[in-house]
Amino acid sequence: MRTLQVREALREALRQELEADPSVFVFGEDVAGYGGLDAVTAGLQKEFGPERVFDTPIAESGMAGLAVGAAMMGMRPVVEMQFTGLITVALDQIANSAAKARYVHQGGLTVPMVVRTINFGKGNAYVAQALEAWVAHVPGLKVVAPSTPADSKGLMIASIRDPDPVVFVEHVSLYGREGPVPEEPYTVPLGKASVTRQGSDVTVVTYLSNVPIAEEAADELAAESISVEVVDLRTLVPFDRETVLSSVSKTGRLVVAHEAVRRAGFGAEIVAVVTESEAFRDLKAPVVRVANEGVPVPHSHHLYPHVLPDKDDVIAGIRRALD
């Protein structure tokens, strides 16, 4: 099978959905003429025209509101938040207008829209935020956060076709990640995790940019005969309870890793799900969370590596869980 980068896989998903469904349209800041700052949407305007792929002014709340209204009329908008810090500006339209529309209309109006939001990881305290827990908290929203090219394509297509608003989290550090991607359109169902490393000693539950980090940690620890299972959640809402719980029951040890701040981060929810379940009885050790310790991401390359979880942090977390 041919190999694509995540950015190419996302672009292919958008292109195939634009082609297949005239109600799909793509817009945002710099997405059309420039093709997206990381080339995810490159060439789409040329192919589909300015009616269906267009640039907007810097107006994230207006853009999100526009998507909500259009989706209510049966369109399937895909709107980009150029970096995740911007989602704070659009949060009213996402968390209020989009998330509650189906509910208050008793199903009579729905909002099948996709908000693409891009985590930068580094840069500064504003752009380098991981806010997936903010949106995962809101009833009515679904949250997708894939790590591989194949999942990026399949989940993007599934998100566009989903009848509800989806916040689709991307990560700059993943855009160049390569992997096999089928050429034809396909979906990866929302709410299904993927076990990317089979293991028996400890489970690492993670998503998005921390998946490759956890995999590297697993590969390194394999040399010490420590068998690490890596669960890539792929989707936060809906949540794949079954895969997480059965892995924890099997290994008896749980490490949760994400780039977001630890307190009230999505990892807290993962841990809570485990402790509320029968899998809790299978735990042999306290769970460990590997995450941002609770600081804004500093700009300097001398500083941010100390804030963002890396392979060594995940390895240290695994060793603690094995203690």
Binding site: P57, M63, A70, M72, N96, P139
Partner: protein, 339 residues
């Protein structure tokens, strides 16, 4: 009076028949009687909710919606109750929504002034003031992309013009030439405080110029003036000429909300009551021989009977089943989220 200098309708428009005019009057009267009755019930503690009564502003919702097509969509503000009547919402539907009972269109999920009626082309306006502005622009764009000639009509108060979504919405609408008409119901107060607190210029309509849009000021107490200004905005939108802003200078006759106290001077309220939209329209229609006191009295009596019946039935209708609280969060049941 601060409504000096606004455009008054010159004569009855040719596209409105005497039946239309009588119907517009009836809708305003129905709105007035509903406001009065709902306030009475609220003050007597018989409603489970408070309300933002629209009395005094009836001409805005009726005038703006009367000429719309079934295929157009509107987003009302919290006080555009007359838009609901004009689009076909019944007194019983409205009372059921107020009582939040099992007859409510939202099955008790939303309060009556945030209820949408998709079959009547009404989208629920969120409680976040001005959020409906970019949403209506999106709806208008969506209608155009779907290949229809539908128009979006967005209602908001003067208070909404201080929020970023007003700017973002009008700016985007202008750039995209979205088929939308913005109706600002300027009742001269941001909730409890005068408009001067939040609007550094006299006219909201003047702001349209900064988006290259036409901005019209009309006497919001004159239903025909509102009708004509909206008709022009809708015509432009439908013909692909883009959006426009209509500012209706108006005034509410009751307090901002049934649970809040009056903050305006009694003198000012009394002066504005001299410009009652019902009196203005009745006077004009009587002069033209289209309406008489006997017909008004008969219409009023019928509305009263319908209102009595709606109040009685809505109060006797049971609440929604508890399970209703948990439905329609997603297309799938909430259990499917697994979290």
């Amino acid at each position: 009076m601060r409504c000096n200098g606004v455009n008054m309708a010159n004569a009855t428009p040719e596209d409105l028949t005497p039946d239309d005019l009588r119907e517009m009057y009836r809708l305003m009267l129905l709105g007035r009687r509903f406001s009065e009755r709902a306030m009475e019930l609220a003050e007597a503690g018989r409603l489970p909710t408070g309300l933002h009564p629209s009395a005094g502003q009836e001409a805005v919702g009726v005038g703006a919606c009367y000429g719309l097509r079934d295929t157009d969509w509107i987003m009302p503000s919290l006080r555009t109750t007359e838009a609901y009547w004009t689009r076909g919402v019944t007194l019983l539907q409205m009372m059921n929504a107020i009582m939040a009972n099992s007859g409510s269109i939202s099955m008790g999920k939303e309060s009556f002034h945030h209820c949408g009626y998709p079959e009547l082309g009404i989208i629920s306006g969120p409680a976040i003031v001005a959020a409906q502005i970019p949403m209506t622009v999106g709806a208008a764009l969506g209608m155009r992309m779907k290949g229809t000639d539908g128009v979006g009509v967005c209602f908001f108060g003067d208070g909404a013009t201080a929020r970023g979504d007003f700017h973002e919405g009008l700016n985007l609408a202008a750039l995209l030439k979205a088929p939308v008409v913005f109706i600002c119901e300027n009742n001269l107060y941001f909730q409890t405080v005068p408009t001067e607190i939040g609007l550094p210029i006299e006219n909201v309509a003047d702001r349209a110029a900064s988006y290259g849009l036409p901005g019209t000021i009309v006497d919001g107490q004159d239903v025909i003036a509102v009708y004509e200004a909206t008709r022009e905005g809708v015509r432009r939108a439908r013909q692909g000429e883009g959006p426009s802003l209509v500012e209706c200078k108006t005034y509410r006759f009751f307090r901002h909300h049934s649970t809040l106290r009056e903050t305006r001077s009694l003198d000012e309220v009394a002066r504005w009551k001299q410009r009652d939209p019902l009196t203005i329209m009745a006077g004009s229609l009587k002069d033209q021989g289209i309406l008489d006191d006997a017909t008004i009295a008969k219409t009023d009596r019928r509305i009263g009977e319908e209102l009595d019946a709606a109040v009685e039935e809505s109060m006797a209708t049971p609440g929604p089943d508890a399970r209703e609280a948990f439905t329609h969060v997603y297309a799938e049941p909430i259990e499917a989220m697994n979290i």
